[in-house]
Symmetry: C2
Amino acid sequence: MVAIRLDEIDRKILAELQADGRMTNVELAKRVGISAPPCLRRVRTLEESGLIRGYHADVNSRELGFEVQVFAMVGLESQAESELNAFEERCREWPLVRECHMLNGEVDFILKCVAPDLSSFQQFLTGELLTTPNVASVKTSLVIRGAKDEPGVPFDVLEERMSRTA
Amino acid sequence: MVAIRLDEIDRKILAELQADGRMTNVELAKRVGISAPPCLRRVRTLEESGLIRGYHADVNSRELGFEVQVFAMVGLESQAESELNAFEERCREWPLVRECHMLNGEVDFILKCVAPDLSSFQQFLTGELLTTPNVASVKTSLVIRGAKDEPGVPFDVLEERMSRTA
DNA sequence: AACCGATGCGCAATTATCTTTCGCATCAGC
DNA sequence: GCTGATGCGAAAGATAATTGCGCATCGGTT
């Protein structure tokens, strides 16, 4: 993963593909103001550099049958590095856990979970999470409703910064 | 948004496009075991039904210059519906706030934020979030490191459920 | 049991897009 | 003012998307 120098065209490409990852290359090229071949080369470079990690369809989880979304705050008994790694590895194995972030402050981890219904989440909570060794405390909060869920990063903030730096 | 009956092929399509949203239709068709034309028709139907909300490139935010990721727990003075809506609307306008979920329990909202660096987050926190009317308390937690960040939903859990129902 | 409309498949042909190759322009460093 | 590196655009062949159409299957009906 080499550090890449991005020009404005690259940033536009990223912004466009973040907004619509299935855009055709010719459409993308048109929007960023270059022809298709160099545009494709830039996209490939961005992919290979790791700046673009992948492309994902944004699936409506509720419609699909995942009615429940929960944030879980987890505290561990021991914060030794090996214990932290062990817990993270567990999280990677649990399909209902979609995100796991280590935090500063009183809580060690925050988990974003989904589940088909409350009872299957409770089952996961009591049967899996709470019985995991080294887990000291778990506080869960149900998502009542979602107000905003934007994927990725705000490119307008980035552009603003770039123009100030330049 | 009509309720759609999904068969196994549809679920496979969703799973594949969630994993790789830029897959060509012919490749997708091959993987789910039908020919290209009906596969494309199914994808269009899934898009129109709202089950597929869109496609997004997964951009490496840290590489791009967003070094800081923060979870903010927000409590409001008043939880009247109009006040809740007003706060949600504010969140939608803040580019640094990527997600905003209303929670049950002591905290009213959880916000997932990104920022280029700590100082620009502090600036947002003190200059915007904390000065917003009706905001009673904000507790922030910096993400030390990310352990898991899977987009979308676990289709294997879904398949399991379906087979039990059938 | 035979009919029949609805649904959904695959094949084939057309159109659009992707991808490679090549030559040319620009620019930094010497 | 030379020279190598970089990146552009045009053209062409390969691949994929998209449309039209005929056929099979499946329920519901007579």
